[in-house]
Amino acid sequence: DTAVSQTPKYLVTQMGNDKSIKCEQNLGHDTMYWYKQDSKKFLKIMFSYNNKELIINETVPNRFSPKSPDKAHLNLHINSLELGDSAVYFCASSSRGADYNEQFFGPGTRLTVL
């Protein structure tokens, strides 16, 4: 009964390829997020969706395109992968209006670009 799941957990690919990471939450939340954790462990917001609508886009290169087909899913597609895209990508979800609007995180996807 995983709350926030991501696939795949590990992704190794060559520079220039296109790849996708999928995220699903079964918590009934209306808001989902993508965060990037770099090699120095720094975590930074990339995108946020509320009810399938993009509400935060934090100056991410347009090679990154999020897609939210429904409230329970938020996918991240990355075109023309670069070495600097190597990182751990976390999906999270929360419920607007809930106590503290606590964010629940997925297990992360470690992306390695060779």
Binding site: T31, Y33, Y35, K40, K41, F42, L43, K44, I45, S48, N50, I55, I56, E58, V88, F90, A92, S94, R96, Y100, N101, E102, Q103, F105, P107, G108, R110
Partner: protein, 116 residues
């Protein structure tokens, strides 16, 4: 824009002792939320404790407590009776109370080592 600063990249503590991790933040908002997350080697992000800015009482969760000083914009985490399982990266995070700006802004983290 809000910023979060954790000035201790690494800390260590003897098992069963108490350790305090520091966090300061900068904001012009009056209402917001503060969190401490733990990230063990499994890399899962685990919420440790949370505090709402308008609540003066410091939050406590079992062995974890915070010292929230709103005027000083300080939000430190105290871990009592440290256990080996507490070894992890600890991140302080800020979230605005403004609807539509629910993102978490993280500090750079503190790596906590527990000495047996």
């Amino acid at each position: 824009a809000q910023t979060v600063t954790q000035s201790q990249p690494e800390m260590s503590v003897q098992e069963a002792e108490t350790v305090t991790l520091s966090c300061t933040y900068d904001t012009s908002e009056s209402d917001y939320y503060l969190f401490w997350y733990k990230q063990p080697p499994s890399r899962q992000m685990i919420l440790v404790i949370r505090q709402e800015a308008y609540k003066q009482q410091n939050a406590t969760e079992n062995r974890f407590s915070v010292n929230f000083q709103k005027a000083a914009k300080s939000f430190s985490l105290k871990i009592s009776d440290s256990q080996l399982g507490d070894a992890a990266m600890y991140f302080c995070a800020y979230r605005s109370a403004v609807v539509g700006n629910e993102k978490l802004t993280f500090g750079t983290g503190t790596r906590l080592t527990i000495i047996p």
